[in-house]
Amino acid sequence: MRSASFHKLLIGLSLLASMAFSCTEIIDIELGSTYQRLVVYGTVSEDSLHHQVQLSLSSDYFSNAPSPKITGALVELETGGRMIPCSEHDTIPGLYLTDEAFRGVPEQNYAIRISQLDVNGDGAGEIYSAQSRMPSGAILDSIKVTYFQSPFVSGYQVFMYALDPPERNWYSFKIWKNQDLLTDTLSKYFIQSDDFFNGTYIFGLPVGFLIDDEPREAARPGDTITFELNAIDQAYYNFIAEAQLEIAGNNPLFSGPPANVSTNIDNGAQGIFTAYSVQRVSLVIPEETQ
């Protein structure tokens, strides 16, 4: 199962095993520098809202300051032959929102075009672009929660029931506990490709684990669990998987060599622009499952 929590548990256990007689220490090291790049994080979803694009710049590794944001750029979203302009947020630098709130449509292409900025400081402006096709993905049926107990970890596990279409699909999952979005950042996203259940009905895929030891996650009967299924494209799936590997850290016994997280933005930028579909279902944890 490729959920971030179990992935981290696996890495954690392997690090623990290999560090049985070892310790960690913070050290000072000197690192070099590299040229600044544009960093884009933009999403279009099936929810009706002002879709967002965040623009920032890369910096030195030990800069220990918030990343520099890009203001004054021109960001345009293109779909179905028409351009949707975006405007900068009045108080949050680097955040651009579509002027109109609209609902993204599955099977539609979305493209982004960023111009009027000079990242390499050579006096000539640059143009960056990316595109993404919003997948439709599986048809979500329902979720189920059961309580899981083990010496290492206990908590409520969430299972999804859905019908996966025959083509290749990739998914990400979000979980709310009583209006609190638990999977609120990149490192916590659950992702899954359909390699093991392509074109079949998914009878209970584990999509979330609410660990009892984490106070924010620990769930009880009576709590409302809301599950969101996003059908994402392969570029976003790879982006999340690779970003999580880089965040998790390196263990010489089990890790591969580190590498830059892939991107679908052209012209030497980093980050991702993606369109994903949304389906949601909720349930209240019943008394009997514990």
Binding site: M19, F21, S22, C23, T24, E25, I26, I27, D28, I29, L31, G32, S33, T34, Q36, R37, V39, Y41, Q54, S56, L57, S58, S59, D60, Y61, F62, S63, N64, A65, P66, S67, T185, L186, S187, A243, E246, I247, G249, N250, N251, P252, P257, P258, A259, N260, V261, Q270, G271
Partner: protein, 138 residues
């Protein structure tokens, strides 16, 4: 694009010393040194949703700190008895006598309280390890 192999050690030195103080007591020491192995470390970073992601400009571009350690040993051989077909010896040794924290791997962690701050955190396997061994041969 060529990059240094992970086992590339330009300098690799082993000094081995052993001396029998008496026919039954021997001491030994060795000092191992090798250049730190090549390692892939970031040259820049960027931030997405509060997560700091590294920017690498090449594979194995950096090197870990050099590896070196000193080991001592003292061996006391048992008396040779004509009617006994085996011979025992006691061995007292110290591995990594000056407890050098040789870097095994290097990771970067984000400070929980101040997410813009990152630290280089190294993992070392062994500090000083004393050992007592009894050997017998027959």
């Amino acid at each position: 694009m060529p990059y240094p192999a992970p086992y590339d050690k330009p300098h690799d030195l082993a000094l081995v010393f052993s001396y029998d103080i008496t026919p039954r007591i021997g001491v030994g020491a060795n000092w191992i040194y090798s250049t730190g192995i090549p390692f892939t470390l970031p040259s820049g970073r960027y931030e997405i949703q509060g997560n700091i992601l590294p920017l690498y400009t090449g594979r194995n571009e950096y090197r870990l700190p050099d590896y070196h350690r000193l080991d001592f040993s003292l061996t006391i051989r048992g008396k040779e008895k004509p009617d006994r077909r085996w011979r025992g010896e006691w061995n007292f040794s110290v591995y990594n006598a000056y407890a050098r924290k040789n870097v095994w791997t290097l990771n970067f962690i984000q400070d929980n309280e101040n997410p813009d701050q990152t630290y280089a955190e190294m993992t070392y396997l062994f500090s000083i390890i004393p050992a007592i061994t009894y050997n017998f041969r027959f």
